[in-house]
Symmetry: D2
Subunit: 310 residues, 4 copies
Amino acid sequence: MARLTEDAKGVYVIAVTPFTDDGALDLASIDSMVDFYEGAGVTGLTVLGQLGEAPKLTAEESRTVVERVLKRLDGRLPVVVGVSAPGLAPMSELAEAVMDQGAAGVMVAPPWTVKTDDQAFAFYQSVGEALGNTPFVLQDYPLTTNVTIAPKVIERIVNEVPNCVMLKHEDWPGLSKISALRAASDKGTMRRISILCGNGGLFLPEEMGRGADGAMTGFCYPEMMVGVVDAYAAGNPDRAHAIFDAYLPLARYEQQQGIGLASRKYVLAKRGVIKSATLRKPGAKLSALDIADVERLLARQTIRLKEIGA
Amino acid sequence: MARLTEDAKGVYVIAVTPFTDDGALDLASIDSMVDFYEGAGVTGLTVLGQLGEAPKLTAEESRTVVERVLKRLDGRLPVVVGVSAPGLAPMSELAEAVMDQGAAGVMVAPPWTVKTDDQAFAFYQSVGEALGNTPFVLQDYPLTTNVTIAPKVIERIVNEVPNCVMLKHEDWPGLSKISALRAASDKGTMRRISILCGNGGLFLPEEMGRGADGAMTGFCYPEMMVGVVDAYAAGNPDRAHAIFDAYLPLARYEQQQGIGLASRKYVLAKRGVIKSATLRKPGAKLSALDIADVERLLARQTIRLKEIGA
Amino acid sequence: MARLTEDAKGVYVIAVTPFTDDGALDLASIDSMVDFYEGAGVTGLTVLGQLGEAPKLTAEESRTVVERVLKRLDGRLPVVVGVSAPGLAPMSELAEAVMDQGAAGVMVAPPWTVKTDDQAFAFYQSVGEALGNTPFVLQDYPLTTNVTIAPKVIERIVNEVPNCVMLKHEDWPGLSKISALRAASDKGTMRRISILCGNGGLFLPEEMGRGADGAMTGFCYPEMMVGVVDAYAAGNPDRAHAIFDAYLPLARYEQQQGIGLASRKYVLAKRGVIKSATLRKPGAKLSALDIADVERLLARQTIRLKEIGA
Amino acid sequence: MARLTEDAKGVYVIAVTPFTDDGALDLASIDSMVDFYEGAGVTGLTVLGQLGEAPKLTAEESRTVVERVLKRLDGRLPVVVGVSAPGLAPMSELAEAVMDQGAAGVMVAPPWTVKTDDQAFAFYQSVGEALGNTPFVLQDYPLTTNVTIAPKVIERIVNEVPNCVMLKHEDWPGLSKISALRAASDKGTMRRISILCGNGGLFLPEEMGRGADGAMTGFCYPEMMVGVVDAYAAGNPDRAHAIFDAYLPLARYEQQQGIGLASRKYVLAKRGVIKSATLRKPGAKLSALDIADVERLLARQTIRLKEIGA
């Protein structure tokens, strides 16, 4: 399988993990989900992320998920696997296993113990060493990790840690961070890496305008991310905004903590992508009122998409 | 001046604090801003909030702001004043001062030391006692205060602390909280209080659908909040959503930390509401790229509003 | 192997994990360490705790550690295993595995997502269900977990979750919590469970005075915990304080984050309990000045222990 | 009054704020407290700190406290005043007021919004500018502020902000930080400033060994801090440790959050330093069991002090 490189672009969708109604892994739905994402035009998949309910899986289930996704894709699209762990040893253990299985790269977020610039750098330096020649994604997600990494620290990491090939950009607010990193590459002080954006795609058109290469995030309509990224790539920011605006009311709803993932799975199940909308315990459940909210948003979205011919 | 009661509804706009380019209080702009808000159809004003840059004011400046706002309004609209403080004594001191000046009520957020249900209740019980007969708003904003207050704790506070007349609802996600509190009032186990919603209005139509009485938040187009609340009150949720959707792309941009307030003031200055977009130090400043983002959003918003006849 | 019950008392020492100088598991040192703890008079061992560097172990290494400890003890002392995990499935998986190996019980801390009283209760209720008939220890450690559990919530958990048999008491400050829980048991409103105290033993004599059953914590001289607990059990609090005071300067030094564990392992290596003082990366290392501090404290401690005949 | 300089050394005791039994300011007790501290041999006083219950005072009460302390001292000892505030304007306002009253300098902690090295530097740079020629103390207290400032950032602040003359060292653990800062001064890369240590004095002998100039902290027996600092200054670290060890059991007890300050005031009242042990609401109250703990510690301390001839 091709390895992840600095040239990656497009949409790496954060895959959900499908469960049956009683909380068991639903392997058949993994297959249909992979097919759906591929059909929607994504460039790659990211599995075992936070919103893939990875922490709720047993070690064996995690391996099963990765294996099933890779087998279904059969090398047609690259797969990134989240391997964040509290220590270097368990992180390396998982990374080695999934790379052997055929993953294209891994993703690592910093532990909450990182406080200063030098600590952030030292952490990713030791990650780079521990991973050997496995390419990795620096996951920069302060809202969850509670670790803020300044642009100049990312610059230092990128320059001194050669297997850091991508930034999953999820600082918030973060538009100026993309601008600063791209300016550093333009000046020649920083190797140009791939920047894919998260945060549910809520700032995707503006992020593309700042020089991002695409998105790495969820949302029940990957068509939104694909549409925005493609329109930008085609030099048509107005089209990108039009597509974005049509999906924004639902995307916003899906960004709520807990209930948001339940909403995402509800829509995916309704679309026939997965069989059951169930979240594994502990997990949120939509109330009748929540479902009414989502249905109204879906109905309005359908009309709006028709209006703009998307 | 009439005091704040459980019957309050509509839009209490969180006022910005206008400064001159060099960071001094701009009293003339306070007048024009008050006129603008009144003209936009808001029901009340909230001053000295976090997004009013209250913590950056000296004690004397705070008094000046409240005085100027009250004088300009001359009793036509009620004013709520944020009085959160680390101790009961400074909180009461400020509350007494502003009520004497003519405020309608005060707003109090919990300190981060509150951890358990009983501690949250005890805090608001002592606030209620310390404030005497001054009506107050319980500000429930976990994202900033780091204090989560369960619906049943709010129920207990409302039932045992008679001068708690309003909830500034800003839990996130929080739709189910509104539903739970309204259900409690419907069942008769909780006094019905006013619920006005925050979070920049990003969930306002859904919040109205759950039984909220309106909004207490900022956003450079208070017309959005007024339009959504009025359409809901008129039994027209579809119209509410249409208005909301038109403003959502900009409202979302304005919800970014730091840069969001700079964006709000930029638009207010552009609209002639205040003279300068300056934030007092320490405060964010828009870059040329940020301004280009905002201008694009404004242009698209204008077109969309025309399309829906708003 | 006998299972952990509400009657547990004495000292369950939190075992370190011995590594060789280059960071590999040192199995021979596990044996010598187990012998040392047993010889020091502890009642039980707790492994795979935070201060056992558990998060730095691979899944296979974790199993190896538990297996080796259990084999060496050969049933002479009970072993508690930390199994906290972000989801119920991986927690149950590990718990089942170690109980099959012969552990006496498991220990579970709450995730940081727990905010309200009801959420804390619901979490431990689902833990109790997921663990079936495996007895478990409720680890109450707000400083690290950021979750505060009020005494009345613990009371509710104990009453409704039968396999919760022990509290690892590590709230801070927490003396009044022990008093409240013992008062509840005395009144008959709460099943009496075992309370073993943590926090490096820094409040152990006072905790025993409030009704604790012993200690579950580290410290390079388990003789301190054993001595204090035994003296209290023998009705001699003054003796308990004398022993405690003699060890306190070093115990205090060992409570520093990061450097404290390095200090603990330094002394254990110096005492011949383990072969190398190495912490696995990422981990602190003592400087020459740190070592001078520890050596001075050891020298003073030796003199003081002689003075009090301990 | 002489201004605070880099040469400050000795013990700046964090003063409590005495209240009457019903929570009013007790001005007579301020006088007796000031006399007591002076008689105990402290070098200076620090008022309006967190543990002086400053946040619970009204603005007018704060001014009254500072005025009373300064008047009683009549210039015999320097006074440092805590002026941390969420904005530069209210901070400068308070600093100017107390310097006019005769304070020797002010103390400033960083706001929680500071995350990166550059942000920490920028904050103190703007503090330095806003304070003009008023000397200030950098309060480095991550446990409360949640802001970690690396030694090299302190070095940069000290070098570029001339009115930063002292570090209130309260990082935890922090011994290596003192060593790093002193090494920088020895190498000539950093102006040598005063370093006074906090954390209730729990690491004072070791901190003096690393090159600290003294202590800035509370504890109901300032004799401990004075004794340790003097013994170290006289080249007698063993004596310093002997004094420290005698007070450590009580000092440790006093470091508990909430209950610790109640314990400090209990002992000060018992010693006749202040009239009432009352904490202003919201504040902890000692239970009968807490008081028994403290009394036992006091009794043991008296014996031990006699043994070592202190």
